[in-house]
């Protein structure tokens, strides 16, 4: 079954960046899904059940923290690895991320190598 990766960010450049960074994985049967706001992101997670989600925190309609909280604490979905991305680097946000149930937290601008590494680890490639 092909692995699915969801990229949720309101900035088009960011979505493109992440996709291009992980382009190599496409050869190994990865399906990329995108969402430009929190509500859409939530819906896609519920419908498609992606294995890995890159979730930007600052998004319209519903922010990343809330999406993460919903997925992890309310719906209690399993098998969805959520990485929160944010331009904010405060400890407070890191804590908030933990409380939201995020599996990992990365600040922007992030290290592309780190992105690749984490993808490889989560998808077992």
């Amino acid at each position: 079954m092909p692995s699915k990766v969801l990229i949720a960010d309101d900035e088009a450049f960011n979505r493109l960046l992440i996709e291009q960074t992980l382009e190599n994985f496409e050869d190994q049967g990865i399906e990329f899904l995108t969402a430009e706001n929190g509500v859409k992101a939530l819906k896609i997670i519920q419908d498609e059940r992606p294995n890995l989600v890159f979730l930007d925190v600052m998004m319209p309609k519903m922010n990343g923290f809330d999406v993460c909280t919903t997925i992890k604490h309310e719906l209690k979905m399993e098998g969805v690895y959520i990485v929160l991305l944010t331009a904010k680097g405060q400890e407070l946000d890191r804590l908030q991320g933990e409380q939201a149930g995020a599996n990992h937290y990365m600040t922007k601008p992030f290290n592309p190598d780190e992105l690749i590494a984490i993808t490889a680890k989560v998808l077992g490639l």
């Binding site: 900035e11 450049f13 960011n14 960046l17 992440i18 291009q20 960074t21 600052m58 331009a87 904010k88 680097g89 405060q90 400890e91 407070l92 804590l95 922007k108 601008p109 992030f110 592309p112």
Partner: protein
């Protein structure tokens, strides 16, 4: 019962009377008892005698009767005819016909005798052998009485057998027998006869003066009645008639006594054994009847005695009350005296002991009266003295009171002042304070109208801030200098009084002036400037009493205003300070929010730049370069350039990112917005972590890293990540500014602190620059020629971090020799 006892307890007389009566009754009872006993004794004696007499009489009668029958028998036996016939009957020589005719003749004769003499029941003739040859009871003929006593005795002489129970009739019988002779005076047999004992009943039963219950009777050795008992003809069943008297008599003891008779009735009885007759003669009289007189006597005595005691008791109580009355009268008088009426005297009712008591009592009372009067006189004198003294005192007091009243007025004011001071010290809310002040002032002066105008120093117009009473409606109204009383005081800065405000030419027209009469205003100052006025006014209702503000009042009010001014100043200052602080805080908040926003905005495009540059580089290296043929040196150079350019973009992007991060960090730390995670930790650990993190830097350059962490390093309290950041920063700097050699990191304890040093053998820092090393954005070197490396914020951030931990950061350096950076951290908890 208890009521009776209580009555007896309370009344002496009652006790006396009761005792007397009881004793009397007791005596009477005793007397009657003794009389009864005595009477009984004598009655017994006389009864005994009577009974004896009767007994003797009866005995005599009985014996005479028996003798009579004896004589009858004797007579019958002696008759010649009888003897002749008897001889024929009983003689041996007689033939049958002679016997037969003798038999019938005798028979006829005997029957005639029995019939005539009712006392004889039966007559019969016995031969010398004891056989009955002839009897008036034919059934007896032929029987043998050879053994019987009467026969054997009758052979010799006339014999009366004692009473016995006849075997034939089973009844008590007396048999008389006499020898029977023939005409020749030769004994031929015995003539016997049974007596009719019923005939003796009459003798025995006759009362002969024994009284209603008297009884005489005969009893045989078988305990049977021989005579018919008067009251019980049959006697107890079986003939068992017993009593003490009977027993004694039947044992041949004669006498008299008191005992219970055969019926169980107590009797006086005389008992006598009649030897010849073989019976006991008992004569009895019931004790009840016998002793009736004694009883009656006792009753009479007791009756009389009882009535007497009642009567005497009555007499005694009369006497007792006669005694009690005077005593009670004295008691009554005593009570009245005790209640206060000393004029009372006890009545002299008798001449006896009680009378003496009354007399003595009265003497005592009169003495008391005299003493009391004397005492009263003394008291009156003293009272008079006291009244005079009191009057004098009152005069003095009146004087003092007047003096005190004026003092009191002062006191009230001082108290109010004191209270005001205490209260105002703490007041910082301006509006509340103004309200409070005007009310206090009103209370102080006892007016119901008051106001305060208050404004900023140097203001052109002032404003009514608060007002009570009629001034309430002026609140908010503006006032110009010189306008009305308040305006004038504000302008001149001097207190002012206007009596008859309602008629004052310079009054404020739109104000309801006719409600206030006398009004006063005192200035409120801030520093040297007059910033407001405190005013009070009396209501026109008080026009009658015409209260005014005198010099005293103005003085007090001025002092109050002075206090008020200070308090108001404080409040104002506090408010402005508070406002200023609020403004500053708001500004700070705005700055933080702005920076957070800015950083976000800056980071977003940076992400793209960095990211895409990197991807481009990756594509170049992984896809494009391998696809190119590297023959063309120009192409090689271009490709190399492109790669380098991309590196430059990446490096610069990184630098920009670091700058933003550092800027944000610094701002957060200085604004106190950083989330410090303080914990107990070992600096040794932090050093090692930092060394690990910077290990790559050493590899690229030809540098060594030396570590020297002292053992038993005390723990410090700090934020692990931030301290690591400091270490990384310092090590990075050391690497940056060193070309070769070693970088030495040490950690040791010194004077209650943990000191860390990072020593390099690099270019060093000129003394002139050393003071600015920790400043923001300061970088060593000429800004034009030396390209700045790093952000220039690193050391500032280190300084902020170390100083937050309560430590110090400093350096030692010599240009060209290298630098050693130090920082210290306090052991344990950081101060504050």
């Amino acid at each position: 019962m208890s009521a009776l006892l209580r009555f007896l307890k309370n009344s002496l007389m009652a006790r006396l009377v009761m005792t007397f009566v009881l004793l009397l009754l007791l005596t009477i009872a005793l007397v009657s008892y003794l009389a009864y006993v005595q009477a009984r004794r004598s009655l017994t004696q006389s009864a005994f005698e009577r009974l004896r007499a009767v007994s003797v009489l009866k005995e005599d009668g009985l014996n005479r009767w028996v003798n009579q029958q004896r004589l009858n028998l004797d007579f019958t036996a002696w008759q010649l005819e009888v003897r002749t016939q008897a001889g024929l009957l009983l003689g041996e020589t007689s033939n049958d016909s002679e016997s037969q005719s003798a038999y019938s003749a005798l028979g006829e004769y005997l029957n005639y005798v029995v019939t005539s003499i009712s006392d004889l029941d039966e007559l019969f003739i016995l031969d010398l052998d004891g056989n009955v040859l002839l009897s008036t009871q034919p059934s007896r003929e032929g029987q043998s009485h050879a053994e019987d006593l009467f026969f054997n005795q009758g052979l010799s002489s006339t014999y009366v057998q004692p009473v016995y129970t006849s075997p034939e009739t089973n009844r008590p019988t007396i048999t008389v027998a006499t020898p029977l002779f023939n005409q020749d005076r030769r004994r031929v047999g015995v003539l016997a006869g049974n007596l009719n004992l019923a005939r003796i009943d009459h003798i025995i039963l006759e009362r002969t003066g024994l009284g209603e219950s008297g009884e005489t009777y005969l009893v045989n050795r078988d305990y049977e009645f021989v005579s018919a008992a008067r009251f019980n003809l049959q006697g107890p069943a079986g003939g068992n008639v017993r009593s003490l008297g009977i027993d004694l008599a039947l044992s041949s003891q004669d006498g008299a006594g008191l005992y219970a008779n055969y019926q169980g009735i107590p009797v006086i009885g005389d008992y006598h054994w009649l030897e010849e007759r073989g019976v006991a003669l008992i004569t009895e009289l019931s004790q009840e009847e016998a002793f009736a007189p004694a009883r009656q006597l006792a009753i009479n005595i007791f009756g009389v005695g009882f009535i007497s005691s009642i009567l005497l008791g009555g007499v005694a109580s009369m006497l007792a009350s006669r005694i009690a009355q005077p005593i009670l009268a004295i008691t009554h008088t005593a009570r009245k005296i005790a209640a206060g009426d000393l004029s009372q005297t006890a009545p002299l009712m008798t001449d006896d002991e009680v009378g003496l008591l009354a007399q003595a009592f009265n003497e005592m009372t009169s003495q008391l009266r005299i003493l009391y009067e004397q005492l009263e006189k003394k008291v009156a004198e003293r009272t008079n003295d006291l009244v005079q003294a009191n009057a004098r005192l009152e005069e003095e007091i009146a004087l003092r009171v007047l003096a005190q009243q004026s003092v009191q007025g002062q006191n009230v004011y001082l108290e109010a002042l004191h209270e005001t001071t205490l209260n105002l010290i703490g007041r910082l809310d301006l509006k509340e304070l103004l309200e409070d002040l005007v009310r206090r002032a009103g209370r102080l002066m006892n007016t119901q109208h008051g106001f305060i105008i208050y404004g900023e120093p140097g203001a052109e117009v002032n404003k009514w801030q608060v007002g009570i009473g009629v001034y309430n409606r002026l609140v908010g109204r503006q006032i110009k200098p010189g306008e009305g009383l308040a305006g004038k005081v504000w302008q001149t800065g001097k207190p002012m009084v206007v009596n008859d405000y309602d008629q004052w030419a310079e009054r404020i027209i739109d104000f309801e002036y006719n409600l206030v009469s006398s009004s006063v205003g005192v200035p409120l100052t801030s520093g040297t400037q007059v910033v407001g006025v405190l005013g009070l006014a009396y209501d026109c209702q008080d026009c009658e009493t015409y209260s005014t503000f005198g010099e005293n009042e103005i003085d007090q009010l001025t002092r109050f205003a002075h206090l008020a001014s200070i308090a108001l100043d404080n409040a104002r200052l506090y408010t402005s300070t508070k406002e200023a602080r609020a403004v500053a805080e708001a500004a700070n908040e705005a700055k933080s929010a702005f920076l957070a926003n800015v950083s976000h905005e800056l980071r977003t495009p940076l992400t793209s730049i960095l990211g895409f540059a990197r991807i481009t580089q990756m594509r170049l290296q992984e896809r494009i370069l391998p696809a190119l043929s590297m023959d063309d040196p120009r192409l090689e150079r271009v490709v190399g350039q492109v790669n380098d350019n991309l590196n430059i973009i990446l490096a610069e992007s990184n630098r920009l990112t670091n700058l933003i991060n550092d800027l944000l960090d610094l701002e957060k730390i200085s604004a106190g917005k950083l989330d410090w995670q303080m914990e107990s930790l070992q600096m040794g650990e932090v050093l090692r972590l930092a060394a690990a993190a910077t290990s790559s830097l050493f590899e690229s350059k030809d540098l060594n890293y030396v570590e020297e962490i002292s053992e038993a390093l005390p723990e410090i309290t700090g934020d692990r990540d931030r301290l690591e950041q400091v270490m990384i920063n310092l090590i990075s700097n050391a690497v940056k500014f060193s070309g070769q050699g070693a970088i030495q990191c040490k950690a040791y304890a010194q004077n209650g602190e943990v000191v860390v040093s990072i020593k390099d053998q690099g270019i060093g820092i000129a003394v002139v620059d050393q003071s600015q090393v920790f400043d923001k954005f300061k970088q060593v070197g000429d800004t034009l020629t030396d390209k700045p490396q790093g952000t220039g914020l690193g050391l500032s951030i280190c300084k902020e971090i170390i100083e937050y931990h309560g430590g110090r950061i400093w350096l030692e350096s010599e240009l060209g020799q290298g630098s050693t950076f130090y920082f210290s951290l306090p052991v344990g908890e950081p101060p504050g």
